[in-house]
Amino acid sequence: MAALLRVSHLQTYYSSFGGARVVKAVDDVSFTLGEGETIGLVGESGCGKTTTCLSIVGLLPSAARVVGGSIAFAGEEITTKRPREMRRIRGRQIAMILQDPMASLNPLFSIYTQVAEPAYYHQAIRGRALRERVQALLRSVRIPSPAVRMREYPHQMSGGMRQRVVGAIAMAGGPKLIIADEPTTNLDVTIQAQYLEVLKDIQQESGVALIFVTHNLGIVAKMCDKMAVMYAGKIVEQGSVRDLFRSPRHPYTRALLGSMPKLGSKDPLYAIPGHPPNLAQLPSGCAFHPRCAHTMPQCVSQEPEDGHVDTNWTAKCWLTDKQAQEEYVSAIA
């Protein structure tokens, strides 16, 4: 099956102070996504998840640039596309949901106007067809009485409802891929579950592919088939959600899973020691080694490559390399 989205060795760097300071926000990231597939992009703040997404849609801030690698969407390379061409893809083929529902909607325009825009501009739908489409979209995100509510303004809606409107906007252009950047982080916990239900329904009904960015593993378990764990700008482990949850290979993945509070358990919460690295001054070798419980000498001196664990399951850790393990064991013996 041809992949809908193929990201290969993507490198996106931020430069500041006239090039004197370079931050490798995304450093050699690769993953693929097929049609209708869902992948969770997980990691702590600042690990490069959002930059990866912005690289895909081509809306990086002026200080950032894709300096290497490729992003192929529907068979076409999109990193080299001109802004005008990207604009046609954005909204129509690839849509994005942002984190803050209070700020995402323009306060001066009605819900109708804002949901209708992608359909209006990309598919040239007008008049009654447009109205019906907006109502259908609002219904699909479970907003009651869509005909009435579409005449309202953002400030008249709650956060949860606004975020659903943002979801409707994302679907409005009929995209093949939706990128959701922490869409539930700013919602009340009780509303979060509802919203995820809605999102999952849309995804399954329409068969749209989904990249779900979050730091919450529970959500990934619920929403996604595949999962990629990011740390310091790199994907340190990726595979199916089931595999990674059951027996994670990378110590960071293991630590993340371990730090999830378990219902009914009275064990003390485990927090990963240390703090996320400064992307401008990364540690040598494996970026995780200062916080890792299983550091071997090789981890300090050499950056690990993608170690093969199983089909479609890789982990960037020397622990997957049998030879490295044997050397270590013999060294401490």
């Binding site: 240390g274 001054q281 080694h289 200062p290």
Partner: protein, 306 residues
């Protein structure tokens, strides 16, 4: 077992563009931090104004003996080196008058701003910190006085109180304090919620103590930025009042009244009486604006956007 080995990989950072190894570090970092342009303008003006008594060739209020009225500057026909920049309608030396006028503009500008800033900051703090009816009263007065155009209000007060340099200082202070009050009040409102203030209150400090030790130092930044930006406005206001005849009274030289004097001869093309005083105002105000911008960037990162 957590690894204690942590080697930082040197990131490939190119060395910064300039290498000032030859010049002592302290001076260059200081020099790079000072706002050169505004100071280059202001310092000479200030010095000229301070030492006007010694630098000025003539008494600014007395006509030059033997000179004609409306003499042009020395480089034009009819001018002489006796009066470098020309003379006015009473044959007084323009250059000397400009120097003393600088003194007036600077003094009124600075003092007026100090008065306005002090009143405005004090009332802003009281209004923001004490709240309640104090806040209401002060804010209503602020709104009311802000509604009246500053110049009109100043003209009215000057007409009533009578012109003199120090009266003008007070008047301008009374007219412009409202601008400070608004801004400072806003700052105090947000400061009031900050933890260190709450801690001080819980610790039992009297209100006066909290205000002086915690609130005041933190709003001073904004006051100074605001002051440096409005000093130009005050200088122009003084010039406007003097132009209209309700500012600094003659024969004391003030750039504004010099402009008014020069108006009559403008029609026949005697430009020097108009251009030079106006240039003076322009340069001083420009310098204060630049200084204000520099201060704003350094003192308040939130306003950097502007």
């Amino acid at each position: 077992m957590v690894s204690t080995i942590e080697e930082t990989r040197a990131s490939p950072v190119p060395i910064g563009a300039r290498d000032f190894a030859s010049v002592p570090r302290r001076w260059t970092s200081l020099a790079r931090q000072l706002p050169i342009l505004p100071l280059a303008i202001l310092v000479p003006f200030i010095l000229l104004a301070l030492f006007a008594n010694w630098i000025a060739p003539y008494d600014p209020t007395e006509p030059i003996p033997g000179a004609k009225i409306f003499e042009p500057p020395f480089w034009m026909q009819g001018g002489s080196s006796r009066a470098l920049l020309g003379t006015d309608f009473q044959a007084r030396d323009l250059f000397s008058r400009l120097l003393f006028g600088a003194r007036v503009s600077l003094i009124v500008g600075v003092m007026g701003t100090i008065v306005a800033g002090s009143i405005g900051t004090a009332l802003g703090i009281l209004s923001g910190y004490l709240g309640g009816w104090v806040d209401q009263v002060i804010m209503r007065v602020t709104d009311a006085w802000l509604a009246l155009p500053a110049l009109v209000f100043a003209i009215f007060l000057a007409t009533m109180i009578g012109p003199s340099m120090w009266n003008i200082v007070v008047i301008l202070g009374l007219v412009y304090w409202t601008r400070y009050a608004r801004v400072i009040r806003g700052e105090v409102l947000s400061l009031r919620e900050r933890e260190f203030v709450k801690l001080a209150e819980i610790a039992g400090g009297s209100r006066a103590r909290v205000i002086f030790r915690h609130i005041l130092p933190n709003v001073l930044n904004s006051t100074m930025v605001l002051a440096s930006l409005t000093i130009g406005v005050v200088i122009i206001a003084e010039a406007s009042l003097s132009f209209l005849g309700v500012g600094v009274p003659p024969p004391e030289p003030a750039w504004g009244s010099m402009l008014a004097d020069g108006r009559s001869m403008l029609m026949v093309g005697d430009w020097w009486l108009t251009v030079f005083p106006g240039l003076g105002i322009l340069l001083v105000v420009l310098a204060t604006q630049l200084l204000g911008d520099w201060l704003r960037v350094r003192l308040d990162p939130q306003l950097r956007n502007m």
